[in-house]
């Protein structure tokens, strides 16, 4: 059993390596062989993998590999576009506590977007703790500004504009941060964590940091609201989940580094926020539809949580 699993994995790894090396022209037979094997599986809209999972590298290297596997940053960011990155910066805690997205990932992605010719890269979160302290203590402010991006506040209602969500169960009108509405591209960069209220916090839950009135969601069926929000017509172009050391308990704030699974060292990337959360759920030991809002969202057919039917590229660095 192990050997078969290993064989398949090696196959993927080899395939991945070839596709990354951009030598597909020379190895067309191998490349097409892989395509044939995956033909039953759903690929992304551009024929690239539906979901990419990278393991065991440093965060920047894993991000680079994941983006490459999805066709490079140019597939998401065109020259002259304005980009907004939405990491989780909810808490006034340092990076090693795993409550916020790691600054290395946000900083590196800022660099990549600017290198792709982005007109500007803005970063914000509607934080839970004091926003200036959270921006600073998370290390994200320093990383983003070093890379040439801008930190934008999310602490005041005047930054938010009303939008309408069509066809949703609980959400009709709500206020969304203007950067999300006005930027050409937005990238969702959550960190994977246990969550006392919603069981798990990752890509879909991270949307609670782009809206103004979170209390409304908590009051009106949190899981349903999280799921409903995937109907918002400004969906992220890409979701990148920081699962380097996911928080296993006491989330989403966390109490100490003891709350983190030490050796996951994974980064996930997908255009589909439902699929990336299904994968996150598996990492935290749930079933792929074990998180209520993931299950509700998948039932709308706006996202997938049936991982076995999706084309997943698994990359192991080192």
């Amino acid at each position: 059993m192990n050997s078969r699993r290993d064989f398949i994995k090696q196959g993927f790894a080899v395939g991945a390596a070839f596709s990354l090396a951009d030598l597909s022209g020379f190895f067309s037979r191998e490349a097409s062989a892989q395509t044939a094997a995956d033909s039953q599986l759903l690929a992304g809209p551009d024929g690239k993998p539906y979901l990419v999972a990278v393991r065991d590298g440093d965060r920047k290297a894993m991000l680079d590999r994941a983006i490459e596997a999805l066709g490079g940053i140019g597939a998401f960011v065109k020259r002259g576009q304005t980009v907004v990155l939405k990491p989780n910066i909810g808490w006034d805690v340092p990076p090693e506590l795993g409550a916020n997205t790691h600054p290395d990932i946000v900083g590196r992605l800022t660099e990549l977007c600017l290198a792709a010719g982005a007109a500007s890269v803005s970063v914000f979160d509607h934080t839970c703790d004091n926003w200036e302290k959270a921006y600073a203590n998370s290390g994200i402010k320093a990383a983003v500004e070093h890379a040439g991006g801008k930190m934008i506040p999310g602490n005041d209602e005047t930054y938010y504009r009303e939008v309408t969500i069509n066809g949703s169960d609980k959400l009709s009108k709500l206020k969304v941060h203007q950067l999300i509405l006005d930027s050409d591209v937005w990238v969702n960069i959550p960190v994977l964590k246990h969550h006392g209220g919603a069981t798990m916090s990752s890509a879909m839950k991270n949307h609670m940091g782009i809206i103004w009135d979170r209390g409304y969601w908590h009051k009106n069926d949190l899981d349903q609201c999280i799921a409903d929000f995937i109907r918002h017509n400004r969906a992220p172009a890409l979701n990148i989940t920081d699962a380097y050391h996911p928080m296993m308990r006491n989330g989403p704030r966390g109490k100490s580094a003891d709350d983190l699974i030490p050796n996951v060292r994974t980064l996930l990337a997908s255009r589909d926020q439902v699929a990336i959360d299904a994968a996150g759920a598996k990492i935290l030991g749930h079933t792929e539809d074990g998180i209520n809002y993931v299950k509700i969202a998948a039932a709308t057919n706006l996202g997938r949580c049936d991982l076995s039917n999706l084309q997943i590229e698994r990359i192991r660095i080192s």
């Binding site: 999972a53 006034d92 839970c128 200036e132 506040p153 209220g197 069926d221 704030r253 709350d259 299904a278």
Partner: protein, 510 residues
Amino acid sequence: MKRPNTLRHIRITLATLVIISVSAAFLDYRDWLPAASKHTLTMIQFVPAALTVSAAALLILIVSALLGRVYCSVLCPLGILQDVISRLANLLRRKKLFLRHRQPDNKLRHAILAAVIISVALGWGGFTLAWLDPYSNFGRIAAELLRPPVIFTNNLLATLSKHLGSAAVPRVGIPWAGLAVFLPPLLIGALIVTMSAWRGRLYCNTLCPVGALLGLLAKFSLFKLAIDKSACKKCGDCLRSCKSQCINLKDGGIDFTRCVACYNCVSVCDEHGIKYRFQNPLNFFRAKKTAADTQPNADRRNFILATVTGSVAAGTGVNLSGGKFINAVLPPGAQSREQFLGKCTACQLCISACPSHVLEPSFLEYASLSGFMKPRLNLNKSFCNFNCTVCGEVCPDAAILPLAEEAKKTTRIGIAVFDHKECIIYRDGTACGACAEHCPTAALQIAKTNLFKDPLPVVSEQYCIGCGACQYACPALPKKAILISGLKKQETAGVLKQEKVKAADDEFPF
């Protein structure tokens, strides 16, 4: 011929620096200044220094006993503010105001001083000083009256910068205090403006207990400003320049107990007739004896008046609540309601410096007149940031003791009390967990209980520090399902110990 007056220039330079920096400490709405600097700027004020028995208080007393009330002109922000107001008022006048010599209001100022001293001795200084400390009065004027318009201006700039497509100026919430708390600084501010615009330093020589105390020391100063009678031509220039109305040209004397050492008279005297001169303090006692024989005993009258006032003040501080809990939540490091209300002078520095804006001036939440205008946590508005220790770092009165970050994290200021009947999870049967989401100590967990089919918030009291993040986050309305009960006496909370989370398989789990 006017010679450059060094003393006056030094006074003006120092006073300008002091009022700018102390104002900055109160108006700093983005936490740009380090907390330690705010503490240093304010702990050298006389009342905070005296309450904490610091060397600064001794130094101020020594300087007063040497040179008179230098403190009142150089260090006291309320005094400097009055100079600014008188000066502005004179700029608006066509003809400069001419203040004649005025008899001292000794009964009044000594009665106030005695009342304050007695009340402090009785442990009710927290009430009297909160109203009469000049530094704290300045703090309230800065924090309640000047800060909101400053932030409002910032927000206008923010709107402007937003229209220009820049996010360089972030908006800041404007901390309007309730009307009841807003009124005292407004009324006292109006009083100060009126008195200083028309009568210079009259406030400092009638109502201010610090002015009265330092005035008593100035009476015995080794060096006093005095008029050289042989040089004096009685031109009245010094009189015109005196804001304390303490120069009497008829007998050629300066009432040094009211002089605030501004040195204006020194600089205007063309004859250089006003200078510091050594005075043998023993002379005073010799002269006093003869005067006392012919006058009614003012000291005894003052003492009786002061005792009455002091007792009234003390009576207003009666503790009205019992038990372990109180309605107000004290800032971490305040130790206990009694010690806190006894020491805090309601200067509002902690309220201005609190990065979470959770501190607010109280009205009657402490169930004591001593608690009026003093900080408490408004946990519906915000919550106490877990790793923040700013209020204790800035407090110049040691009413809130500075806590090390680790000590702060286990300082219990209240306890979360959960009412499942109001909880969204129980009421609506849907997920929420906003409270658990915010809990920094993991004292609050969503766990299975026998109250309901789904897991509900459960508070392990031994780990709860009462920071109020849960109360703030609770979306239940009209009544929140989780509320902090303030502790009368702060405690040390336990720390939840958990095993390290185990490593996972080194495989992709999907």
